[in-house]
């Protein structure tokens, strides 16, 4: 059978069909070279290794992290032959790999977003102290999730936690997390805090949190955000864009709710303070009352003593005026028979009968003579 004869465009079509059939998608690792963006829309670069070069093409909106010549990347795309007979990969997604490239990509984006003001301290909102609703974005199968929930439940209660179960690494992670953020922010009643967590991992795993659209989505969140990714020393751009950065998922749980045990201790202390206040006041009142009692007692005693003295003086005085006392002293009471006292010469005359009362006797006598004496 003779070889089929193609027209040029037919050849290209057949080749592309074959490629589509055999390699609908390829994933390639290599170094970026000749990187350029044309008209702000079209991205062109070569991916190469020591012995080969393949041109690549993509749209700028598919770029999620900055790329530069010299970066090692892993990309996924569809190989094809262009109308000009050029072999090219149409890239669907591309990400830096290897710590060096990841760091460079991070630095470029960090500088750009910093300049935009996305990380400014003034943008950070304070978190409510006792949130009633939390939106949690994480992988529900991860240890980070388990740690967060365990510490949250131990620390506090009364919180309604909705969990958006997403990938936290790989190519699907960033879009899923963005969707989850949108979901929570578009609820009629968005949560009081949105928390995004994932545990430790390699630099590539954590690179998800340097994805530009994701970082922007975190910065734009209506609800305040807490991001806790990796270990203490890992800082991603999402961390910087969030309202509060948590060092780890466990730390995130400590940040979003207070510690009920501390509150319980505080209330116990308040009870002690109340008790101290009231006993101090009772002691005060008692002191005032007993001081008053002592004063009253002293005053009363003094008054009684004073009256006692007056009484004694009065008695003495009275005793002195008692006619019986005079009689005891030898004086006599002289009276007429009608009982009238005789004190002057005019009160009697010779021949009158008088009664003389002595201390222990009564005499009935007749007057013999009367003589007046002037004293």
């Amino acid at each position: 059978m003779a070889d089929p004869v193609f027209r040029v465009s037919e050849l290209l079509a057949v080749l592309n069909q074959t490629l589509e059939y055999a390699y609908p998608s390829v994933t390639v690792e290599g170094e970026i070279a000749s990187y350029k963006i044309s008209k702000g829309k079209y991205v062109f670069f070569d991916i190469k290794d020591e012995q080969g070069v393949v041109p690549c093409f993509m749209m700028v909106y598919s770029l999620r992290q900055p790329l530069e010549d010299g970066m090692m990347v892993r990309l996924t795309g569809q190989p094809r032959v262009t109308a000009w007979g050029k072999f090219s990969i149409t890239v669907r997604q591309v990400a830096p790999i290897g710590e060096g490239s990841l760091k460079r990509s991070f630095d470029v984006l960090h500088a750009a977003l910093l300049k935009e003001g996305l990380f400014n301290a003034e943008r950070k909102r304070t978190l409510p102290v006792m949130p009633k609703a939390i939106g949690l974005i994480t992988s529900a199968e991860s240890a980070g999730y388990a740690d967060f929930i365990k510490i949250l439940n131990h620390r506090f209660g009364g919180v309604d936690v909705q969990v958006a179960n997403v990938h936290v690494q790989g190519a699907h992670a960033a879009p899923q997390i963005i969707n989850a953020l949108q979901y929570f922010n578009q609820q009629d009643s968005p949560p009081d805090i949105i928390v995004i967590i994932r545990g430790g991992g390699s630099a590539e795993d954590l690179a998800v949190f340097n994805d530009e659209p994701l970082v922007r989505a975190v910065a734009a969140s209506r609800a305040p955000t807490v991001v806790g990714v990796g270990h203490e020393t890992d800082t991603s751009l999402c961390d910087l864009a969030a309202d509060v950065r948590a060092a780890t998922p466990s730390n995130a749980a400590q940040i979003v709710v207070p510690d009920r045990h501390a509150f319980i201790a505080h209330t116990a202390q308040s009870q002690k303070s109340l008790y101290n206040y009231i006993t101090a006041h009772i002691a005060d009142v008692n002191k005032i009352a007993s001081q008053a009692r002592v004063r009253m007692a002293t005053d009363l005693q003094a008054a009684i003593a004073a009256y006692g003295n007056r009484l004694m003086s009065a008695r003495r005085l009275l005793a002195q005026c008692d006619p019986k006392a005079a009689l005891q002293r030898g004086y006599a009471l002289v009276q007429t028979v009608s009982g009238k006292s005789v004190t002057t010469a005019a009160d009697t005359k010779p021949g009158d009968m008088l009664t003389i009362t002595l201390a222990r006797a009564i005499l009935n006598v007749e007057v013999r003579y009367v003589k007046s004496s002037k004293r």
Binding site: D192, I278, H281
Partner: protein, 71 residues
């Protein structure tokens, strides 16, 4: 945030009430009868707060939806 405010004060409000009661005792020349009333109210409030804090639980729900449309 969208719930209608209930008559029962929130935990945060109750804790503020307790702090206010303590502050009341700091003023000079307080009446002993009033003080005893405040004391009893404060002790009861503190106990209630402690019970609530101990009993409070969280409700954790894993949402059913998938979030994997391209963003």
């Amino acid at each position: 945030m969208s719930k209608v405010a209930k008559d029962k004060p929130t935990l945060a409000q109750q804790m503020q009430q307790l702090d206010d009661t303590l502050a009341w005792f700091e003023q000079p020349n307080i009446d002993i009868d009033e003080a005893y009333k405040k004391y009893e109210q404060g002790i009861a409030l503190a106990e209630s707060i402690q019970e609530q804090l101990t009993a409070m639980q969280n409700k954790v729900t894993i949402l059913r939806q998938k979030f994997d449309q391209d963003a």
